[in-house]
Symmetry: C2
Subunit: 142 residues, 2 copies
DNA sequence: CCAGTTTACGGACACCGTAAAAATC
DNA sequence: GATTTTTACGGTGTCCGTAAACTGG
């Protein structure tokens, strides 16, 4: 099962037509036929009942449709979160600091950052200078 | 982004090695290299930091890993639910009955069925014979 | 050097697009 | 008979596998 196949499946379910789905996806209609057929074969399940006049989704197709939508949505989220993480706007931000030296402004800084980048998990650690250097050694990032 | 690519990505992340992932997936190692590279190119994001000695996932890679696992899990669920639905063990079961004729055993039947197939949404409708025939006409299933 | 990743290259398989056939109204 | 799906077929593109080059310890 691949996402491109599911996209075709969703289009057919939405438009109730193989040819209309093909137009929407900018491919030819036999390609849609083949993709749906192979998906049905892979699952061993009939997803649409169709003849030359109408296309009707089956009960099993309805079930798959819900899951397919979820998977496509998840794909978009995965892409977005990953790219956001790469820009430093998500992931984990671990801050080692010396409490005595900067007890005042760290909370303000962290609060502002957290508000701006809500997807970042932040952890604060009160470390000595030696501990900080050691931590850097152990976990060097790109 | 395709699921087969994500499977390779997950294998590399798990084993921290391109060649080990290749062995696990029964393909050759250059294929893994290409898939990861194309995934990184598609996202515009570096997913692993690697040299000939070690493979280390990046922060962005960690984020994608979580989503990738979710997508693969969703795929399995989609397959299972769909096949279950095709066997009549999920979906919607709508029962039209005549209350006067079988007021006694319907509840027992339904309760037993619901216990056996928890994924089925059941709705009961008290219909006359004409209404039942009409309902069949309007919503013929496979 | 050695183990592992990347790059280069040749070939096979899958998938698309065109075209014809089948089917349903 | 017209429209839509299915099937058949030829071709191209993608992706795999083999082999060689590169990289870092």
């Amino acid at each position: 099962m691949e996402l491109c196949t599911l996209r075709s499946f969703i289009a057919v379910a939405k438009l109730k037509s193989f040819s209309a789905a093909a137009r929407e996806l900018h491919i030819v209609q036999p390609a849609i036929s083949r993709q749906i057929a192979s998906l049905e074969e892979e699952l061993g399940v009939s997803l649409f009942w169709r003849n030359t006049r109408e296309v009707k989704i089956t009960a099993a197709g309805e079930v798959l449709l819900v899951e397919a939508h979820a998977m496509i949505a998840l794909e978009g989220r995965a892409k977005e979160y990953t790219q956001r993480a790469a820009r430093g706007q998500a992931g984990n931000l671990r801050i080692g600091y010396i409490s005595s030296a900067c007890s005042g402004f760290i909370p303000t800084l962290v609060r502002a950052y957290a508000q701006r980048y809500p997807h970042v998990a932040i952890s604060l650690q009160d470390l000595t200078v030696e501990q900080q250097l050691d931590a850097f050694d152990k976990e060097v990032l790109t």
